[in-house]
């Protein structure tokens, strides 16, 4: 019972990591226990790939490459951003079911509830991106650079989505229930993902929208992912650096914001 008095700060960090791992494990088991949800939430982005590749793709012309190559980095980013909604839904559900109440009375690290939730959602995003890469290959997508740069691009967009997860944890902790958490999340995500360079070049949009679309973080992350995955005409060191800056900046702001919101949640 008095172990806390003996352990130093290294012990504290070990406990914190162990708590994050435990909560992540619990959330991942949750995914596996509802295979239907896992299946359909993976099918959803795959349908998007097929839809844009075969239905809209023929009407969209981009410079310097086949549309499917242009499309895949964009659709990766769109998918992982929507994956962040799972964070808000999951937390709202834990709150609703009283699980957070139990966690609060346990001697676990305060940050572990959010850390475990966002980490589990990150793992799921990794899985979904892997599946989509496979589907992309089947419909003609080819990496323009090399495998290592492709993986760096994937890592970048996964980190971006991870930072968004922390932001959406605030939505989840503020929503009265999980259904509301979901509908509260979409209005934030739609403008960010669709008014972006994910599906069509920003230059095809009206002038007033371009100003927003060209500079918002989702576009920059998409441009950076294209730079790393396609290279050539899409290579842009500036987009890569700006996207990286957004990731670091968002993490620096959204992680403390999530923790603050969690502490305030009664």
């Amino acid at each position: 019972m008095t172990t806390s008095e003996v352990i130093g700060s290294s012990g504290r960090i070990r406990w914190m990591l162990s708590d994050v791992v435990t909560v992540t494990w619990r959330n991942l088991l949750g995914f596996l226990r509802i295979p239907e949800a896992l299946f359909f939430s993976t099918l959803h982005p795959v349908m998007f790939v097929l839809l844009f590749r075969y239905v809209f793709g023929g009407a969209i012309h981009v410079e310097g490459t086949a549309y499917v190559d242009y499309l895949m980095p964009g659709i990766f980013v769109q998918t992982v951003c929507f994956g962040a909604v799972a964070t808000s839904i999951g937390l709202a559900e834990d709150l609703q079911k009283g699980l957070i109440e139990r966690f609060r009375a346990l001697p676990m690290a305060r940050i572990a509830v959010l850390g475990g939730r966002t980490s589990a959602d990150l793992v799921r995003n990794v899985f979904v991106v892997a599946i989509m890469t496979g589907v992309g290959y089947l419909v003609g997508f080819r990496i323009g650079t090399n495998a290592a740069l492709f993986l760096v691009g994937a890592l970048l967009l996964l980190v971006f989505a991870y930072s968004l997860s922390w932001g959406f944890s605030v939505v989840g902790l503020s929503a009265p229930n999980s259904e509301t958490a979901q509908v509260m999340s979409f209005p934030l995500l739609f403008p960010l993902t669709f008014a972006s360079s994910a599906f069509v070049p920003v230059s095809s949009m009206p002038g007033w929208l371009q100003a927003f679309a060209a500079h918002q973080p989702v576009s920059l992350v998409v441009d950076a992912a294209r730079s790393l995955m396609l290279g050539g005409a899409y290579h842009s060191t500036s987009a890569e650096l700006q996207a990286l800056a957004w990731c670091v900046g968002l993490l620096a702001v959204l992680v403390p914001l999530g923790v603050w919101r969690y502490r305030r949640t009664a």
């Binding site: 019972m1 172990t3 806390s4 406990w15 162990s18 708590d19 435990t22 909560v23 494990w25 619990r26 088991l29 949750g30 226990r33 509802i34 079911k97 009283g98 699980l99 109440e101 139990r102 966690f103 609060r104 009375a105 346990l106 001697p107 676990m108 572990a112 009664a266």
Partner: protein, 331 residues
């Protein structure tokens, strides 16, 4: 180090909704180590709010509380190592199996893997959940969930346990079983604070009882002391109408140990010796030529405690009690 009480609360105040709901207006309690305190009160009295503050889930607006000498706000993380909480509504993970739920709580209590595994097996065994251990909680009945929730609170073998209405929703057999488990905890020296709406439960388990109503302590003592205050039996007599009941009330005044409660066409007398007084009641009324519609004897209920202590019935139960009384006199 002097021996601090296991649980101490001093003038706890908590308001919700920006002051609109005053859940607690100055609750003080003290629970000796190794004893059981029953926190008794009607719906909305503030029982859960007390438990949530003592278990560090909620901070009080004013007042302080400590567990084994550690402040629940300033030393919250220390307190969390000393307590187990089984909340009013089972807080278990629906997607995990029974064993996984226990393992999760054990890991978050920072027990090593081997200990977690053996404690989980032990608890599943003693709560008769071994057969269901590998099934997701979704497939559990309400009573099984409740038992697993309690088991989860015990994984860390905390010296202080909070049980918020542990037997609500359990069938009589499960309730008996749970009572035995709680008695077992007390035998090994655990301090228990349990909330309940049942006098019978407090009577069986608690060394001391604190009665709360509208966020205040309105009585405390041993169950025996409280019951001695109450008389032992309630005699209910019903008549054709309220005016007859009026007349009868005057006649029967001397038989009740406290003022007769008059509700509609029914009277309630609090007495020491139920059967003797019942005969006396019938004799007196017969001699006066007053017809009796029905007569019933019952043990004093929590409602009677409130009646005695506050002069009003608990808000929610007044209607149900009246309905029950009506049912009892038919025929």
């Amino acid at each position: 180090m002097s021996e601090a009480p296991a649980i101490e609360a001093n003038e706890l105040v908590k308001v919700f909704d920006k002051g609109k709901v005053r859940a607690l207006s100055g609750v003080s309690i003290s629970v000796e180590r190794g004893s059981v305190l029953g926190l008794l009160g009607p719906n909305g009295a503030g029982k859960t709010t007390v438990v949530r503050i003592l278990s560090t889930v909620l901070a009080p607006d004013s007042g302080w509380a400590s567990i084994l000498g550690h402040d629940v706000v300033k030393e919250a993380s220390k307190v969390r190592q000393l307590i187990g909480l089984a909340g009013q509504y089972a807080t278990v993970d629906e997607n995990l199996t029974g064993r996984e739920n226990l393992v999760m709580v054990g890991r978050l209590t920072h027990l090593n893997r081997a200990t977690v595994r053996s404690r989980a097996d032990e608890l599943l065994e003693s709560f008769e959940l071994t057969d269901a251990a590998s099934r997701p909680l979704k497939t559990y009945s309400g009573g099984m969930r409740r038992r697993l929730d309690l088991a989860a609170a015990l994984v860390g073998r905390p010296p202080v346990m909070f049980l918020d209405e542990p037997t609500t929703g359990l069938d009589p057999q499960s309730r008996q079983d749970l009572w035995s488990i709680i008695e077992g905890l007390v035998k090994v020296g655990t301090t228990v604070l349990l909330t309940t709406q049942y006098l019978e439960e407090a009577d069986r388990l608690a060394d001391r009882v604190v009665v709360v109503d509208h966020g205040r302590v309105i009585a405390e003592g041993t169950p025996g002391e409280l019951k001695a205050d109450l008389g032992t039996t309630v005699v209910e007599v019903t008549f054709g109408d309220s005016s007859i009941a009026d007349d009868a009330s005057t006649l029967l005044q001397g038989l009740s140990t406290r003022p007769i409660l008059h509700e509609g066409a029914a009277l309630e007398l609090t007495v020491e010796d139920g059967p003797r007084v019942a005969i006396e009641v019938l004799r007196t009324l017969d001699a006066a030529g007053i017809a009796v519609g029905g007569l019933a004897l019952r043990e004093p209920s929590l409602d009677d405690v409130f009646l005695t202590l506050t002069g009003h019935k608990s808000d929610d139960s007044a209607t149900t009690a009246a309905a029950a009384a009506k049912g009892a006199v038919v025929g």
